[in-house]
């Protein structure tokens, strides 16, 4: 896997519609990650979550590289 920090925009083009796990995260002034070192990528989010448990780095980010469909809604309710 990558040994260097790369722009997330570059990784999104390289791995479209995938989930990414990044370490060594660099964020902008508004807390949004802009760079990171790629540790894992997968079309299956569970693969990334499983890998998350084994990562020792101080900063970690999970990214989905696809576009959110315009008709996607999220509904959640608890009591």
């Amino acid at each position: 896997m990558a040994k260097r920090v790369e722009a997330i925009s570059t990784l999104k083009r390289r791995y479209p519609k995938e989930w990414l796990l990044l370490t060594n995260v660099v964020a902008d002034d508004l807390t949004r990650p802009i760079k990171g070192k790629l540790v894992a990528h997968s079309k299956n989010r569970d693969d990334i979550y499983d890998r998350l448990a084994r990562v020792r780095a101080k900063s970690v980010s999970i990214e989905y590289t696809g576009k959110i469909p315009k008709d996607l809604v999220v509904v959640f309710w608890c009591r």
Binding site: V25, P33, I62, L72, V74
Partner: protein, 142 residues
């Protein structure tokens, strides 16, 4: 005050949230802003990454999903931050949203109630600031 743009044509507002544990380790998640959700929701593995053990939590809530009623633990995340606004000791519910939701979690009222939130749909701008109340609730801005 922090601001970020969003696409008002979509039915979901995606935000990038920074979570921090007591030792300073950071985890960035993609979450859906949900002003109708009582609780902020993060995946189980995210909680474990922050050194928190949901299985040992005594606080549990019932909630409805597409497949019925489930019970999930509530834990306290030491620090959460959105577009520069930082809130401490945030109660969150541990539950994995369906993979097809394309987000890791929901940012709900257990975080947002400490903030002044303005959603300008015509301009597609989300603005967030700490509320006065937050200063007496153990909440701080960076």
């Amino acid at each position: 005050m922090g601001q970020q743009a969003f696409d008002p044509a979509r039915h979901i507002i995606i935000v990038r949230v920074k979570l921090q544990d007591e030792s300073g380790r950071l985890l960035y998640l993609q979450m859906a802003l949900d002003t109708g959700a009582s609780m902020t929701v993060i995946p189980w593995q995210a909680a474990e990454r922050l050194g928190l053990d949901p299985a040992r939590s005594r606080r549990r809530v019932r909630f409805m999903t597409g497949s019925g009623t489930e019970v999930a633990p509530i834990i306290t995340v030491p620090v959460m931050e959105l577009i520069g606004v930082r809130v401490t000791n945030v109660p969150v519910l541990c539950h994995d949203l369906p993979q097809r939701s394309l987000v890791d979690g929901l940012l709900g009222l257990s975080f947002l109630k400490y903030c002044r939130l303005n959603i300008d749909f015509p301009k597609g701008v989300l603005s967030l600031d700490l509320s006065n109340r937050s200063r007496t609730s153990g909440v701080g801005s960076r």
